[in-house]
């Protein structure tokens, strides 16, 4: 074939965005997924963790002799054993330290005390029963609101400088300007509210299989992690093993929602287990261990204030927060943001000023704090501002939807720098709210509500509007333990034009194998079937910080588009050689490089790839391949937004709430696969129902966790969740290569406020203005009686 001969065969381009079925499904519907607990290696041992029954106690002695003598036991490891390796403590993602196995005292119920390695699962559990730990109980601090009292027990006496339970004070916004607006405002409303402790509870619990090859010195760890690369770096730092001798494989992950971002003691125990025994060691926690010891979410004690004119112009918002971080500060978030992105509590409104103060404290509760699809605490922020707006509407006698419509940022205000400093990239907020009100039939709902109230029936209509900031983040602003939050991508195009994209982030159900193939296919004029996505294996993928904070599409998705464009530019040079024209004479159109003015003269990626690897003279300095790599540093966060309306019916006799309808209009920018986007929203709405009505990790006065099983920690099922009604607007991100913003957490961020606003709206005839989540029948009934419950403590 001469260089100029035209080929028509391989220029096949179809727009590859759209609701195509997922590549992942083929293995999952056949039961052929590979989750961590599915890994079985020859000679593999099983580990189990002994946990503290007490929330705060000094360890006097640990007797492991009987356990070690168990015929099936190969090793028993205590904190003292770890101390000899310098591994009794590990760094957390918030630059605190956390005990791997307790050496001095235990600081929460369920804390890790010893690790048994045995030849099977059941024997490991048996051996735990043979370990005798002598504890001296200490006073327990469970209520964050007393953590800073002078007589509070000091939890972190391991830290030499620690004389109280304060972790940090943090503030954002302009205090003076905000105070001034408040002083001069017609209307000021304040409300105390609790966003109670919750738990992501992915259906697959956390676990690891660690396998040291004693000959090569290579440690392979199959791990339930959302951030395999960050974990590898951390394990290198903690164990002292060289980083290139550590391979983290994050296989299929049974849901994460933030729960699988941190490093847990069990992971390190499995690693030490294989180092000690020389055999592979599996550790998989049970459900109670997951709920009682791994990263929780929320636990924000908040005071919100809103200032407005008497005719309903919102002027300023102020917040004071007490943040309960548990016994170790294990929050996973950008280092410079100890309260995450809580300072987005300015929400979606055109404010003159805003200010917040956040104080973090230690308590005798499990560590964590940023988990559960919260977009780094924007969930708490949205809840605060959306409750305050509803309280303002009540005070003014205004309709909550109309009040929002009046105060929402206008499209022409973007890019908009909010009073606490974040720059919202793009938005058309009134449009999203209008679409939601239209789907809901908002006016008719209000009429129905009025007529029902006359009959003594209580229905509620709850509105919420949210703005998220996702896709952390710009390297100059955001890092975790010094690691900038950028993502690599590596794209190889084989000679026949089939491509392999290696990405650093890790799917836990979001469908990356499908959507990332769609991104690359769209950029290169290929079919998504021709693009294989490799992820979750640090030996096969470039470095990046992982999947959380809705950052996959926002950061890694951008990297995928950018690396595909690099391939395209490389292909341009080859196409020029093939067509014997200058590269400047080519333009990319309809999935191929075409000669300007003569578009029939064209070459697609597949034939270009073959030519690149052929003997064709490509010209000076042009390498014979199309492969490329990139590292994407986002210039800003992306800012998805949405309007939600929840309709509830409340039985005042029992306090039972039924969610009748849930309308969600999301704007996540360009949608790569709308089917997957809708699926993400469905999940988040279920989270909203669960958090608002059912889920809480509460404690009694001894520090006993009252949400330690799924019999106590109630997750929504198919009968509690409504059939959602979804709408969409599309406002592309101006700085993201494909205009996408991210959708993974939107509905979890936006929906709890809609549910609570709806229930409080239903209870308006009883004079109820606020009640804390979860709005269980008991909580609703007590609110109606004028005796609101404190939901997080079983204290008298």
């Amino acid at each position: 074939m001469s260089k100029s001969e035209k080929t028509e065969t391989s220029i096949i381009y179809k727009a590859s965005y759209g609701s195509v079925p997922r590549k992942e499904d083929a293995r999952f519907v056949r039961g052929k997924g590979t989750f961590v607990d599915d890994i079985a290696l020859p000679g593999m041992l099983c580990g189990a963790v002994l946990r503290s029954p007490l929330a705060h106690a000094r360890i006097l002695s640990i007797d492991t002799a009987a356990a070690a003598a168990h015929p099936m036991v190969e090793a028993v490891i205590t904190g003292e054993d770890l101390a000899e390796r310098g591994m009794a403590w590990m760094p957390t993602l918030s630059a605190d330290v956390q005990a791997v196995l307790a050496t001095d005292k235990v600081r929460f119920q369920g804390q890790e005390v010893a690790f048994v390695v045995a030849r099977d699962r059941y024997s490991a559990r048996d051996a735990l029963e043979l370990i005798n730990v002598e504890y001296e109980p200490l006073p327990v601090l469970i209520d964050a609101q007393t953590a800073l009292d002078a007589d509070a027990p000091i939890i972190r006496d391991d830290l030499a400088s620690r004389t109280d339970n304060k972790i940090f004070d943090w503030a954002a916004g302009d205090k003076e300007a905000t105070d001034l607006v408040f002083e001069q405002a017609d209307v000021v409303i304040a409300q105390e509210m609790l966003y109670p402790r919750s738990h992501p509870a992915p259906l697959e619990t956390c676990g690891a299989v660690a396998d040291l090859d004693e000959i090569t010195g290579k440690l392979t760890i199959w791990l339930t992690t959302q951030a395999p690369h960050a974990h590898r770096t951390m394990y290198a730092m903690i164990t002292g093993l060289p980083e290139h001798k550590i391979r983290v494989i994050s296989p299929d992950i049974g849901g994460g929602f933030g729960n699988k971002v941190p490093i847990y003691p069990g992971y390190l125990c499995a690693i030490v287990g294989t180092l000690v025994t020389g055999k592979p060691v599996k550790w998989v926690e049970d459900r109670s261990e997951n709920l009682m010891s791994t990263s929780f979410a929320r636990d924000y004690h908040m005071r919100g204030e809103i200032a407005a004119t008497k005719d309903g112009q919102i002027l300023a918002v102020r917040a004071r927060v007490l943040a309960d971080h548990g016994a170790f500060n294990g929050a996973a978030q950008p280092t410079k943001f100890p309260a995450g992105f809580f300072h987005m509590f300015t929400g979606s409104y055109d404010l003159r000023a805003a200010y917040c103060e956040v104080t973090g404290v230690y308590t005798n509760k499990a560590p964590g704090g940023v988990a559960y699809s919260c977009s780094f605490r924007i969930t708490e922020a949205v809840y605060l501002v959306e409750r305050m707006v509803d309280l303002l509407a009540r005070e003014l006698g205004a309709d909550p939807a109309e009040l929002r419509m009046r105060n929402l940022l206008r499209p022409e205000q973007f890019p908009y720098t909010c009073p606490t400093g974040l720059e919202y990239d793009s938005g058309d907020y009134p449009k999203a709210l209008a679409v939601a009100m239209d789907i809901a039939g908002y006016a008719e709902l209000r009429e129905e509500q009025a007529s029902k109230r006359e009959r003594g029936e209580y229905m509620g209509i709850g509105v919420s509007f949210f703005t998220e900031g996702v896709g952390a983040g710009p390297k100059h602003l955001m890092d975790i333990l010094g690691l900038g939050m950028n993502d690599g991508a590596d794209l190889r195009v084989h000679p026949t034009g089939k491509a392999v994209l290696a990405i650093s982030c890790q799917t836990q159900g979001q469908g990356h194998e499908t959507t990332f193939a769609q991104i690359v296919a769209s950029e290169l004029g290929l079919s998504p079937d021709d693009v294989e996505v490799v992820h979750g294996d640090t030996d096969r993928t470039p470095f990046g910080l992982g999947t959380y904070g809705s950052r996959s599409t926002a950061v890694s998705g951008a990297a995928a588009a950018v690396v595909a464009r690099k391939v395209r530019e490389r292909a341009k040079l080859v196409a020029a050689a093939m067509l014997e024209v200058s590269a400047e004479d080519l333009e990319w159109a309809d999935g191929a490089w075409r000669v300007k003015g003569d578009p029939e003269q064209a070459r697609g990626i597949a034939e270009i790839a073959m030519a690149a690897h052929s003997g064709l003279d490509l010209g000076d300095g042009v390498e014979g391949h199309l492969d490329a790599m990139t590292v994407y540093d986002p210039p800003n966060l992306t800012f998805p937004f949405g309007a939600y309306i929840c309709v509830t019916d409340v039985d005042p006799g029992t306090g039972q709430v039924t969610v009748r309808r849930f309308i969600a209009v999301d704007d996540c920018g360009v949608r790569i696969n709308p089917m997957i986007v809708d699926g993400q929203v469905h999940r988040g709405l279920a989270d909203g129902v669960g958090m608002a009505l059912m889920q809480i990790i509460a404690f009694d006065e001894h520090g006993n966790c009252l949400g330690g099983s799924l019999m106590d920690y109630l997750l929504p099922t198919s009968v509690e969740c409504p059939s959602p009604e979804l709408g969409a607007t599309v406002t592309p991100s101006p700085h993201h290569p494909i205009g996408a913003k991210g959708i993974g957490e939107s509905a979890t961020v936006g929906s709890p406020a809609a549910v609570v606003n709806s229930v409080i709206d239903a209870l308006a005839p009883f004079g109820v203005k606020h009640a804390d989540m979860p709005l269980t029948p008991a909580a609703v009934w007590c609110a109606i009686q004028g005796r609101p419950l404190r939901s997080d403590l079983a204290l008298r």
Partner: protein, 159 residues
């Protein structure tokens, strides 16, 4: 003790501890890992398999109780020729799964439902699945998946 269990049409004879749970027999002894374990307390249903003709939560059944009986797991849902069950097809067509962890249990319960009620309402589908937890889908697309399967079975659609 020694038991013989027919799993997906194949007889397996094993010597087991009497306390061994059926979920661990299936996963660890037979290495059929499509059945998942999620809670310990019979709440989540990730471990649902059929014991004879009924879905059970295999984390709450002793392997010994399955002696001489038939077990169906997700690996046995497709025909011997590899043709997917309409329920499996429905989950793929309607995005009825995300992480895939609850999916085997959901599909086995759905299969049982459709065998007994070929045209269930959404409400009946939701009731049938209410003993199982999905953390990813909010259930809507699972309901649609089951409905898809019902429709395609009723219509005799062999595509």
């Amino acid at each position: 003790m020694q038991i013989t269990v027919s799993v997906n049409g194949t007889d397996y004879t094993r010597v087991i501890e009497p306390r061994l749970l059926l979920i661990h027999f299936i996963r660890d002894e037979l290495r059929l890992t499509g059945t998942h374990w999620g809670c310990d307390t019979s709440n989540c249903g990730a471990c649902v398999v059929w014991l004879d003709e009924k879905p059970v939560k295999s984390c709450t059944v002793l392997a010994a109780m399955a002696d001489g009986r038939r077990v169906l797991t997700v690996e046995g849902m497709a025909s011997s020729g590899g043709r997917l069950d309409p329920v499996q097809q429905g989950f793929t067509q309607c995005h009825g799964l995300q992480c895939g962890f609850c999916t085997p249990g959901m599909m086995l319960t759905a299969r049982w439902l459709l065998n007994h009620n070929p045209d269930p309402s959404d409400e009946v589908i939701r009731e049938a699945l209410s003993g199982q937890i999905c953390r990813c889908t909010g259930y809507e697309n699972i309901v649609r998946s089951v409905r898809w399967a019902a429709k395609h079975e009723a219509g005799g659609d062999q595509s």
